[in-house]
Structure formats: structure tokens, C-alpha cells
Amino acid sequence: MTAAITEDDTQIDAAGKPGFVANIGKMSSHVASYLQAVPLAMILGFFFLLPILMIAVVSFWDYDFASLYPDFLTTNYTDTLGSWVTWKTYLNTLKYTALVWGLTLLIGFWVAYFLAFHIRTTTMQMVLFLVCTVPFLTSNIIRMISWIPVLGRNGLVNTTLIEMGVIPRPIEWLLYSDFAVVLAMVHLNTLFMVTPIFNTLMRIDRSLIEAARDAGANGWQILWNVIIPLAKPGIAIGSIFVVTLVMADFSTVQVMSGGQSASVALMMKNQMSLLQYPAAAANAVVLLMVVLLMVAAILRVVDIRKEL
């Protein structure tokens, strides 16, 4: 938006007609650009800023099972931050986030790399990319739940391994464990890594790679010194998707851990189902802060706007 305004201004100045008409023009262009910004500002204001403000306000209220009482209490925050459950839950959620982020980045990057550099025709690239998205045509929940019959005690993996004589008795940690949670999350979120990385890889000028090879770089050096630095914006965008999605997840944790593990959002959901809205709101504000800090950290490492 700001870029557009300065551009307009310079054009008018460059036209070299200072005076009344130009001033009117200048003013109306100012007004016009503000007017242009109004719809978006209103949508964001009503549907984004206002709700967040409401959450922040409610997080200071008092409550019982029946209703909320406007107040200014900090107990919701002291209860949340003062409890070892919260800290443990945050630690657990961060653990999932770190594991899922690392795995989706590894898998996502190689899938994108393969699509971008090893598939020769654009048509084939697009076909294969669409193939990657096919599972996403089914619901999130279905994709998650389908893991249960695969990983269960009498599931596909265990029965196959037992029949092949690899293991004497079923492996218990396949389902209702951290392993199951991370597996399902990686499965659900890898595409969010593939898409932006694939996009940036496709925009890399191939002559840069040729130049590097001519200069004597081997494959790893090209990857490390040319491709990865140029793919950084894609990696950053993908990371933002994955980190925010995993930090806010409750259904995957609930279903795949069999209710044995907690995540921050699950904690909030529990509070909401018990109608403890202010406590949940306080938790939401804390989570929002943490996620914003994480996103800020990612953006600090990679300037998305500069490199896009």
C-alpha cells in the first residue's frame, strides 16, 4: 500500500504542474488511497483485531459455571503461568513443533527439490505436484484417523511384522504415543512445506547453477551455497505455516496420543468445554504471544519481502 502511494505522488510531481489543480489531485489521491484501504481495514478490524481484543479483554474477567463477570483480575494469568501443568504442556507442544518442523523441512525440501530439478518437463512437474496435493482433497480428520487401523496393536503394521516373523509380539508404541502424534502431524503438514519451497526453487535462475558448476563447485556446494540460500524465503514461509499449525493443534494430539498427552490448544479446549472461557482466553493470549515471537524469530533470520 505505501509503495503505491509514493509512486502516485512522484508521478504527479514529475508531471511538473505544481499549483491548485495538482494540489487537489494530490489530496484526492491521498483520500483515494485511504478509501481504497478502507474495505480491507474494516474486514481486518471487525473479523481479526476486534475478536483478538475481545479475547484479551475477557482474559481478565471473572467467571463461574454460569456466566462471565466483567472485572480486571490477573488470576487467570497467574493461574496459567503459575502452574507446572502449563509449563509442561508448553514444553510438550514445543517438542512436537520442533520435531515436526525438522521432519517436514527435511522431507518437504527434498520433495520440492526433486520436483524442481529432476523432473524435466513443466507438465510433468505440475502433474506430480498435483499428485502431492491429492490426499488433501480428503478431510484432515479422516487422514489422521486412518492411521489408527494401520498402527494399532492389531493393526496393519503389527500384524504384517508378526506374520513375517520379524517381531514376536505387537509393538505398543506405534499408536497412542508421541511417535504416533509426530507421524500424523508430519503427514498432515508436509505439503505446507513443499508448496512454498517448490515455488522458490522454480524461480531460481538455472544459469546461476550452471555458473557455479563452471566455477568448479560440486553438487553439495551448489546445494549449500546457491540453492538453499535462494530457497530461504520459501523455507521461511513453510516454517511459519508448520509452526503455527502445530502450535495450535489439538485434534491430532488428542486422537493420536489417545488423550495421554496434552498440547496448549487441547488445554484451552478442555477449559472451554468446562465453560472456563476467561481461563482459556488468558491461555490464548499467552499462546498468541509465543507464536508471534516464533514468527518474528523466523522473519528475523529470513527477510521474506526482500528476497521474494
Binding site: 459455571f65 454460569a66 456466566s67 502452574s83 507446572w84 501443568v85 509442561k88 504442556t89 510438550n92 489408527i148 487401523p149 494399532g152 496393536r153 492389531n154 493393526g155 505398543e172 499408536l175 497412542y176 488428542q254 496420543s257 489417545g258 488423550g259 495421554q260 496434552a262 488445554m267 478442555n270 468445554s273 468446562l274 465453560l275 472456563q276
Partner: protein
């Protein structure tokens, strides 16, 4: 989870035919049951009912429309939302379909008006469990929020419950049951007789309890007490120390790997059992039926310490008056007159007015569901699905055997908030 049953407002030719037929049916069919159904057919009355129990059953709304001409708009919610709505939006409903422990929470807010038992046609038929707390004169009164403790008030307008039976009934009981542990008889490999058996090291990693704090804590209490770890003064109203002891015990069991999972919804409990992930767990009776309908052995195991029971009823909103109030009484009298009772009994729940329900069940159905006899033919669900084959006997036996052995009722504790906080720690631990 909202489940609305509404009839369309506009008049179509088809709708007109249908309601005409319904009105005729009401006049013809309900002459025996009620005195003045034609009034409602001429001045259509709508009753808005919300809650946790029978509000889930659309067949009841359809039958009510056909028999009485009263349109029931039903909304189903979970119990916490029901408690909240009962108090905060008292004008949004005419009939509250809630459990007794919710009633205990919401009644002091003055949103439910007591009923005059003189206007309740079938009051005498209601089982004594809801009047005195005793199914039979020699029964022991169970712990927790037993329905009779919140069943009466001394006078209209009272905010506290009466000690004994009075003329003013807070809710007409509708649906109740006795819960216990479900087991896979083919996989447990031994007799299960006690709540303590769920903690048997042999079942390590193969057990589950439900993750709904207010009910889960009761199951945990049954387990704790049967293991001899503690003796509660009242399982339904624990002290902070008792809550701490119970939760600490659960956390230890969890960290030792005793539990495979914790379930929150009906389908989760069915899948855990059907897939063999767990062999013994907290369960609800329809979930046991669902596992069996897949051809998998599952037993609703009676245990020597007794059952954890729950019950719900219909309460009248405080704002009801005049014709609406009459219609509400009419509806409740219809409700207890037998058809609904038979329907609920055949679902595996219990009706509060057993004598009237009996007339709407076959001798075989009555024998299987209520008397604990072997079924002579196939037992069908109200929807017409085969539930049990001929020869089957209900787990736990007869109505008197099951409801006569209730150890505690679902309840709300004074230290509710503390309990929920500690329960969350258990889940996070």
C-alpha cells in the same frame, strides 16, 4: 453437537395433509391417553426442549406430534453447555432435559419451577428410587447426587431442596442407567469381579478410563475404594485431600503405563474396545451394544462394589404459564404414560414409570431387558436392528439387580473447580 427437530413454518400442500393427518391421528389415537388433545391440534403449541438425554431422540418428538399435536423443538447439548444455558438463557426453553447433578447446580438460580404432583397423572407409578432413594425398602441409599435428594422442595419458590417427599416435584425422571466397566471376555483371560481389576498389572497398557472429569473421577473413586486405598465419606462430594489422593493415584498409574488411552466420546470407546487396544475400560451401555453389533464379544461386567449410576429428567422452565404450562404437563403425562418408557427400555436405558412402559413392550422384551431372563426370540432395538440373538441374557441381570446395586450417582462436588484443575494435571502428566 446440535440436533434440532423442527417442523417447517410455511404451509405446503404436503405439510397441510401431514398435519391434518397428525391432528386426526391425535384425536383418534390419544383419546385413551389424555383427556383433551384436540385443543392442541386446534391451537398448535410448540414446546422447546433442550438438554442432554432424551433430547437426542427424534422418534419421541415425532410420536409426541402424532399423539398430542404438540410440536417439540429439541436441541441436544453436552452437559456443561446445558448447565450454562439453563441458568443464563432461562427464556430460551420451555422444558429442560437435564441430569440430576445439573439440576443441583441450576435449581438455586430459580429457573426451574417445581411441579405439583397432583397434576402428574402417573406420579404413583414412578419407581421409589426417585422418591426415597431406595429401589426396595431394604436398599441402601447410594452416594453422590442421588435424585431423591434434589427431587423435592417444600413450597413453590423455594431455592433449597426438601429433605423428603413433598407435594412439589422438581423434575420428572425420564431416563437413567447403571454404568460399570466393559470388558473383552475373550481377551481378559480371567474372571473380572471388582473395579480394582482394571489396575491389575496383567492388563498394563490395555486399560482406559474416560476423560470427562466429573464422571472419570467417580470411576477413579470406585477403583480407589475397591483397592482399599481410601474410604471416602462421600465419593460424590470429595474433600480436597480426597481429590488429591485420587488424582495422585491416577497420575502414578498413568506414568506406570497402566492406561492405553483416555476416551472422550462414545465412538472412541467403541473403537478402543473393538480393535483390541484395551480389554477393560469405563464404558457406557450403548457402546457395549455397538461393539457387540460388530460381532465382537464385549460384556458390561457387573462388579461386586456396585454401579455408578446416572439419571435425567424433565423440568419445567420458570416462565411457563397458562396454556403453555398445561401443555407442558400434558406432555409430561404423555411421556410417563408408557410409549416413551418402552422405547427407552428397549434401548437399554430404564424408564422411570416401569408399569406403564410394560404395556408397550412384548413379554419377551420385558423379560430380557427388565427381568433379566434369557430372550426367547431375537431382541430388536427400537430402530428395528437386531441387538441380541435368542437365548441372550442381559449383563448384570434384571432391573432390580442392576439398579439395586448402585454405589454412587453422578454428582457435582463442592470442590468442583479444584477437581477439574487437578484432573487436567493428570491428563498433562
Amino acid at each position: 453437537m446440535t440436533n434440532d427437530t423442527k417442523t417447517p413454518k410455511g404451509i405446503s400442500r404436503r405439510g397441510l395433509l401431514k398435519s391434518g393427518a397428525a391432528a386426526t391421528g391425535a384425536i383418534v389415537g390419544s383419546g385413551l391417553i389424555t383427556g383433551f388433545p384436540t385443543i392442541w391440534a386446534q391451537n398448535p403449541i410448540t414446546l422447546r426442549q433442550f438438554g442432554t438425554g432424551v433430547s437426542n431422540i427424534n422418534a419421541i418428538a415425532e410420536k409426541c406430534k402424532a399423539d398430542l399435536g404438540i410440536t417439540l423443538e429439541m436441541t441436544a447439548t453436552d452437559s456443561d453447555a446445558a448447565a450454562q444455558r439453563a441458568v443464563t438463557q432461562p427464556d430460551s426453553y420451555d422444558i429442560a432435559d437435564i441430569e440430576y447433578w445439573i439440576l443441583k447446580k441450576v435449581f438455586p438460580a430459580g429457573v426451574i419451577q417445581p411441579m405439583d404432583i397432583k397434576k402428574l397423572k402417573y406420579y404413583d407409578k414412578i419407581v421409589p428410587l426417585f422418591k426415597t432413594g431406595k429401589l426396595k425398602p431394604d436398599s441402601i441409599i447410594a452416594q453422590g447426587t442421588a435424585p431423591h435428594t434434589v427431587g423435592y422442595v417444600e413450597a413453590i419458590g423455594d431455592k433449597t431442596f426438601a429433605k423428603g417427599e413433598t407435594q412439589f416435584f422438581t423434575m420428572v425422571p425420564t431416563i437413567y442407567n447403571a454404568d460399570t466397566l466393559g470388558i473383552r471376555p475373550d481377551l481378559v483371560g480371567r474372571d473380572i469381579t471388582s473395579w480394582a481389576d482394571i489396575m491389575d498389572p496383567a492388563f498394563k497398557g490395555k486399560t482406559s478410563i474416560l476423560n470427562i472429569p466429573s464422571i472419570g473421577i467417580m470411576d477413579a473413586a470406585m477403583i480407589m475404594e475397591s483397592m482399599g486405598n481410601i474410604k471416602y465419606a462421600d465419593k460424590g462430594n470429595m474433600t480436597k485431600e480426597e481429590i488429591d489422593a485420587t488424582i495422585d493415584f491416577l497420575i502414578k498409574a498413568k506414568q506406570d503405563g497402566q492406561f492405553r488411552a483416555f476416551w472422550k466420546s462414545f465412538d472412541e470407546s467403541v473403537n478402543l474396545m473393538a480393535s483390541g487396544e484395551v480389554v477393560i475400560q469405563s464404558m457406557w451401555s450403548p457402546a457395549v451394544a455397538a461393539v457387540r453389533s460388530k460381532g465382537i464379544a464385549c460384556k458390561y461386567q457387573p462388579l461386586k462394589e456396585g454401579y455408578r449410576s446416572w439419571g435425567g429428567g424433565l423440568g419445567l422452565a420458570a416462565h411457563l404459564e397458562g396454556a403453555q404450562l398445561d401443555a407442558a404437563y400434558e406432555y409430561i403425562n404423555w411421556y410417563t404414560s408408557g410409549w416413551v418408557g418402552g422405547y427407552l427400555n428397549r434401548q437399554g436405558y430404564y424408564s422411570a414409570a416401569m408399569d406403564t412402559a410394560k404395556e408397550f413392550m412384548t413379554a419377551d422384551e420385558w423379560g430380557y431387558w427388565i427381568e433379566g431372563k434369557a430372550a426367547s426370540g431375537d431382541i430388536m432395538s427400537p430402530e428395528g436392528k437386531i441387538m441380541e440373538k435368542a437365548g441372550a441374557v442381559r449383563d448384570g441381570g434384571s432391573f432390580e439387580e442392576r439398579m439395586g446395586k448402585v454405589a454412587c450417582w453422578n454428582s457435582v462436588m463442592d470442590e468442583d473447580r479444584y477437581m477439574v484443575k487437578r484432573w487436567n494435571e493428570f491428563i498433562a502428566a
